[in-house]
């Protein structure tokens, strides 16, 4: 029977299948960070277990780190304690650890690919739902809970029933100012926040073939926001070019061997999916969310839908708009904003900073807007500087911060104050996600940049045209 890309990678990692139960699923690569791993190590120790394959686990500090003055001791004692626990556990078990200040440090889903740890055909997990990012390389990658982190540390396996398969095809050519983030927000709006629950998604079609690796990462990253366990894209020449020569990718004969395998990673003609959807690139415009889940997104030029026209319960919908202080039928364009956040595992890569700069170059940040620009890793910072983007950013009245998850989940001090409205390039607009009482509009780096200079929600295409 013809196999899908997902089947090929999944089936080759099944140690055994349990009848009327899950598969024992082997994990090639495991990322850990300071928030979801400490209890896993405690569990491991209380059972008298050890880390069986320390070379398959990689630690980086990102969720709970400051984005200024990283050279100073971390002020919050609870945060410092978590960071110390990560460092201690990594040292004790011989796990590679990129702590605060390390040149390889950054957001786990940025540094994995950057350093060649993320490979096609691999299985990758992390105690973080946005692990789906790594699917951009043709890997099966998804988020797990802390019990499963302990399983991977102590056995290198987890127990998972094989998800159903969905393919999402987007064909045609994207218009000017329409980015991978917009493609993802558009798909999620069509699927709703739970439409892909129980599925693993393969993205296919012209739009993903034309996309850069950074763009593919943005799309796969957001798979979880429609409920999917993960998303993946078949590896191609772009994928191989991206990973070749990175510090941890196979070299020499190992590379040649790996390439032979990677070239088999595609969905065969006639392979079946449990669900399939087709969308047209030309229907997608720059997107923005207006509610409290990522499925509540519309084209930036559109108005907030009426309760009667959306799926789901009216009360939940009204609660959501009530939280945002928005009304049905209102336009998004022109809403005054207070904050802009550029960063996160969704949009904290070099291409996102290039996009942001393409709009703010030669313009000035609106005075009333506070902007946090947080690169995804130190390598992204280095590249920003190498390309001179730091000067464009400074000249436009913005400042760069140091890498980390930052205001995406606001575990550190980067919290949007209660009631304030932020245009954010991150992945979740849940109530209080960016700080208690904060209100989030998810959008692309272009929409964020345009809104930052105008001070109100702005269609970036209006600024592209005058540039």
């Amino acid at each position: 029977m013809a196999k899908t890309l997902f089947d090929k990678v999944w089936d080759s990692h099944v140690v055994r299948s349990i009848e009327d139960g899950p598969d024992v699923f082997f994990i090639d690569r495991h990322f850990i960070h300071e928030v979801t791993s400490p209890v896993a190590f405690l569990g491991l120790e209380s059972r008298g277990n050890s880390v069986v394959y320390p070379e398959r686990t990689f630690a980086t500090a990102d969720h709970n780190t400051p984005t200024i003055n990283q050279h100073l001791p971390v002020a919050d004692p609870l945060s410092a304690n978590q960071l110390n626990a990560l460092e201690r556990n990594a040292a004790k078990y011989g796990i590679s650890h990129w702590g605060l200040g390390d040149k390889n440090n950054g957001i786990v889903h940025v540094v994995g690919p950057e350093n060649g740890i993320t490979l096609p055909g691999a299985t990758i997990v992390c105690g973080d739902s946005h692990t789906s990012t790594h699917g951009a390389f043709g890997a099966i990658a998804f988020g797990i809970g802390t019990s499963e982190v302990e399983m991977v540390l102590s056995t290198q396996c987890i127990m998972q029933p094989k998800p159903k398969k969905m393919r999402i095809n987007v064909n045609g050519k994207l218009g000017a100012g329409v980015t991978p983030k917009d493609v993802a927000l558009y798909i999620i709006a069509q699927q709703t926040t739970s439409g892909a629950t129980g599925y693993f998604v393969e993205y296919a079609g012209d739009v993903f073939e034309d996309m850069t690796m950074e763009g593919r990462m943005t799309v796969c990253n957001l798979s979880i926001e429609m409920g999917a366990r993960g998303g993946m894209i078949a590896p191609d020449a772009k994928t191989f070019d991206y990973i070749k020569g990175r510090s941890q990718t196979p070299k020499g004969e190992d590379w040649n061997k790996a390439m032979k395998y990677w070239e088999t990673l595609y969905t065969e003609e006639g392979a079946e999916f449990d669900a399939e959807f087709n969308y047209n690139a030309s229907d997608i415009e720059p997107m923005i969310t207006y509610g409290t889940n990522p499925g509540m997104g519309i084209g930036v030029t559109k108005s907030i839908p009426n309760a009667a026209s959306v799926e789901g319960g009216v009360e939940t919908y009204k609660k959501s708009l009530g939280y945002m202080s928005f009304n049905e039928g209102e336009a998004m364009i022109g809403k005054q904003i207070d904050f802009v956040f550029l960063g996160s595992c969704t949009n904290g890569r070099i291409e996102d900073f290039r996009a942001f700069c393409s709009i703010v170059e030669g313009r000035k940040k609106a005075e009333h807007v506070t902007a946090w620009l947080v690169p995804g890793s130190h390598k992204v910072v280095d590249q920003i500087k190498a390309e001179g983007l730091d000067k464009i950013i400074a000249n436009a009245g913005f400042e760069l911060r140091e890498p980390g998850c930052s205001a995406c989940l606001a575990m550190n001090d980067d919290k949007i104050p209660a009631g304030k409205l932020s245009v954010s390039t991150s992945n979740r607009n849940f109530e209080g996600r960016q700080g208690p009482g904060s209100r989030t509009l998810l959008a692309s780096p272009l929409v964020a940049a345009a809104s930052a200079v105008e001070g109100v929600v702005t269609d970036p295409r209006t600024l592209l045209q005058t540039a």
């Binding site: 140690v15 139960g21 082997f26 090639d28 928030v35 979801t36 400490p38 209890v39 405690l42 569990g43 209380s46 059972r47 277990n49 609870l78 304690n81 978590q82 626990a85 490979l119 105690g127 973080d128 739902s129 692990t131 988020g143 797990i144 809970g145 802390t146 019990s147 499963e148 302990e150 102590s154 056995t155 290198q156 396996c157 127990m159 998972q160 029933p161 998800p163 926040t193 739970s194 629950t197 979880i224 409920g227 196979p250 190992d254 061997k257 790996a258 889940n293 789901g312 319960g313 939940t316 989940l409 606001a410 575990m411 209660a418 979740r428 849940f430 109530e431 209080g432 208690p436 009482g437």
Partner: protein, 199 residues
């Protein structure tokens, strides 16, 4: 981590019909700074249970005395979406709940619950509506969740529905086992498999 076995549970229930309840509501990120698993009940639904000054919001179901001590929560569709934080499942457990009933669960939350001894029971949308109606009509309404028979019953009317759980997970819940017990038992098989991996 060991948990109490689950067999048959009969209890009143907290009703929370809001849809798409995400794990940032169940436990906000700022309360994820612990390095041990304890006391996650304190910040369970923190921003829905409490005002910013720390005073309780009396209208929120989890604060209502009439439901106090319930071991079941009946949640709206797509319960537990968002982040993979197992802390959300821990906070459910630490609050004294052993079962969440909903017409749909987010995958990772459901997995996390099963791994720590909270039973996620997926029912039809119409049965979920019946449960909400019954609880709102009489807060002392009892629900019986029978894991061996895989049934959930509204005791006041006798209406019942079966629910799905695979026999492996069912066996774990009935006996208080977890996956690590299973995996450690087959570590030689896993080691042999690992040898075959190219990277």
């Amino acid at each position: 981590m060991a948990y109490d076995k689950f067999n048959v549970l009969t209890s009143t229930a907290y009703p929370l019909p809001t849809e798409n309840v995400d794990t940032d509501q169940i436990i906000p990120a700022r309360f994820l700074k612990a390095t041990e698993r304890k006391d996650f009940d304190i910040n369970f639904f923190r921003d829905w249970r409490f005002n910013q000054d720390g005073t309780p919001k009396p209208d929120f179901p989890l604060n209502k005395e009439i439901y106090a001590g319930s071991k079941i929560l009946v949640g709206g569709r797509n319960f537990g979406s968002g982040s993979s934080r197992e802390h959300a499942a821990w906070s459910v457990y630490d609050f004294g709940l052993r079962c969440v009933i909903s017409s749909a669960f987010a995958d990772i939350f459901k997995n996390n619950c099963l791994n720590i001894g909270v039973l996620p029971v997926q029912v039809s949308a119409s049965f979920a509506d019946k449960l909400f109606d019954a609880i709102f009509a009489d807060p002392k309404t009892e629900i019986k969740v029978d894991l061996p028979n895989q049934t959930v019953t509204l005791l006041s009317t006798g209406e019942s529905e079966t629910f799905e759980i695979n026999s492996y997970k069912k066996d774990n819940m009935l006996n208080g086992f977890d996956d690590i017990d299973y995996l450690k038992n087959i570590e030689n098989e896993i080691a042999a498999f690992a040898e075959t991996r190219p990277f």
